[in-house]
Amino acid sequence: MAELTYRDAVAAGIAQEMERDERVVLLGEDIGAAGGVFKATVGLFERFGPRRVRDTPISEQAIIGAAMGAAMTGLRPIAEIMFSDFFGVCWDMIANEIAKTRYMTNGQVALPLVIRTANGAGSRFGAQHSQSVENWAMAVPGLKVVAPSSPADVKGLIAAAVRDPDPVIVFEHKSLYSVKGEVPDGEALDALGAAKVLRTGKDCTIAALALMVPRAMEAAERLQAEHGIECEVIDVRSLVPLDTRTIMGSVVKTARLFTVEENPRLCGWGAEVASLVAEECFWDLDAPIVRITTPHVPLPAADSLEDATIPSVERIVDTVQRAMG
């Protein structure tokens, strides 16, 4: 076991796959010699050279398009979109081209590619560099979507994404890059579509994603310590495929569900989870499902405002405690 930061685990996951498979190539802005603006690709350029690790112009459509064209002709590209907000400038390539091409060609075209991107708030970057847009991707049929919350997960899920025969969007979280965690030695290979129960509890289920996972965990500690409420915490990890079994299995046990979403309220991933659980676990629920989300507003930049906008440990504790009280 080595202790790695989340950002180093990203690089480690990519390196592992590049080592293993010559078809894996990397492209994006400033990812090469500079090691990426979040330093998540440090060392790869030196190790694998400019043929496999390629800096690009500021041309997100070209980046994603190139990844798509390369994937359909035998490579396994990993494209970086520096901030997930920039999905806006290449959304056609992601949502209309990559997501639909296998289907439209009746399976003739395969697109084994990965799009990595820095998602989420916490850096005081303002409304155009802090969004959580995992729900944008989840809403588009044809994309697989993961959002790891720990160094070990990010390494294993990147490996799984690279080996997957379908396009996978990996949402890395900006505010997790500097977080450290144990990462098992040896080959990392996780599975897409598997949620993880991080903490068991009998009173209620909290489903969270990415940065919201450590917050939910801390909230669960406090709910236990201060209010005697035993929360089961699920790291959803993968939005598509969605591990409804794990989530519903927990709800059947606890009869209560809270979701903690960083995406703004309307049509967030929690809405989908809530609609599924409300339908299929209707008779199991003892009380309404409560969604804890970023309010439906763009994100403010100032530190004080930003901190008060996305779900905090306090807000989770308060909401759960009030609902359970």
């Binding site: 459509q61 390369a70 002709t73 490579l75 060609t105 599924l276």
Partner: protein, 341 residues
């Protein structure tokens, strides 16, 4: 500044192309022409579902390029892609069937007329959102470069497409990475119903932009299949030699409306008639005659092609509608569409 590749003087000695290729070219031109005409007939019979965008009048571009391509080269084209897909060798029944929403369609009805694809023939897809396939073509070219094959990627698009962002990104990207990709602008004078000149800052939408990417401006007579073939061959040679991309503007004209819904009333009187006099199929036939190809040979090609189009039509008409379970197939590589466990 722009180079207009002129048709060469016609004489029997003009054999830089050669008999075998010329006859293949004529056969291809005819096949594209007759197949498009058939598509139109089928539309009139209400058998074409959805939209369709014919290449009638533009066949020499598709044929001239395809004839110069290697089997393993890649073609990327647009919703106006029947001709390009056929030119790479896709079955006529597959194309007509797709237009009709039949199981025999090249994508079994899932893609429709705007997404004809036949990967086994190097027809890597028809793209219906303007500009999107230019970056994708860069990716295929990058892959060929990376794998060290000397495959060329050819990417066709219209004059109107030169005004969208993806065009710019792809051109710059291709040059910076020195990719073996040939961009071909089929300038048919119209962006849907709007004359291209009214929405474009320059006279030659592609050629006048070439220098913005450090490329040579190239304009070719897109109704002269030989001229197209020669320009293509030159660009392919350079691309295979690692000398990077090319941007070629082929001047041409579509004989029918933009799509099946369009009677093309916006065209000035006489414009169509003028272009019909330079019909690429007739032009080619006349050239072959001038070059001394026997009438009989040409007739036999014509009859054979007509017969094959009829057969393809019959076979497409006889094809059933696709099985409904296709709806839930092939979202994922495992064949299915499950998004949960």
């Amino acid at each position: 500044m722009t180079t207009l590749e002129q048709a060469r003087p016609l004489s029997a000695a003009d054999d830089d192309i050669g008999r075998e290729k010329r006859l293949r070219m004529y056969r291809m031109l005819l096949e594209l022409r007759l197949c498009e005409k058939r598509a139109y007939d089928l539309f009139l019979q209400n058998l074409v579902k959805g939209t369709s965008h014919l290449s009638l009048g533009q066949e020499a571009v598709a044929a001239g390029f395809a004839l110069g391509m290697r089997r393993d080269d890649y073609t990327f084209c647009t919703y106006r892609g029947h001709a390009h897909t056929l030119a790479r060798g896709a079955a006529m029944a597959g194309v007509l069937g797709e237009l009709m929403g039949r199981a025999c369609g090249v994508t079994a009805g899932k893609g429709g007329s705007m997404h004809l694809t036949s990967v086994e023939h190097g027809a890597m897809g028809s793209y219906a959102i303007i500009g999107a396939h230019l970056p994708v073509a860069c990716g295929a070219a990058w892959s060929a470069q990376y794998r060290g094959t000397d495959q060329v990627t050819v990417c066709f698009f219209g004059d109107g497409t030169t005004n969208i962002g993806a065009f710019h990104e792809a051109l710059n990207f291709a040059v910076v990475w020195k990719l073996p990709v040939v961009f071909v602008c089929e300038n048919n004078l119209y962006m849907e119903y709007t004359p291209i000149g009214t929405v474009t800052a320059v006279a030659h939408p592609a050629a006048d932009r070439a220098s913005a990417y450090g490329l040579d401006p190239v304009i070719v007579d897109g109704n002269d299949a030989d001229a197209v073939f020669r320009v293509a061959a030159k660009a392919f040679e350079r691309a295979r030699a690692g000398e990077g991309p090319a941007l070629i503007e082929a001047k041409t004209y579509r004989h029918s409306g933009h799509s099946r819904a369009d009677p093309a009333k916006y065209r000035p009187q006489g414009e169509l008639e003028q272009w019909l006099q330079r019909d690429p199929v007739n032009l080619y036939r006349e050239r072959l005659v001038t070059l001394g190809y026997p009438e009989l040979d040409l007739r036999s090609i014509e009859q054979d092609t007509a017969r094959r189009v009829d057969e393809a039509t019959q076979s497409a008409k006889a094809s059933p509608t696709p099985a409904l379970d296709l709806i839930h197939k092939d979202v994922w590589a495992n064949g299915g569409s499950a998004w949960r466990n």
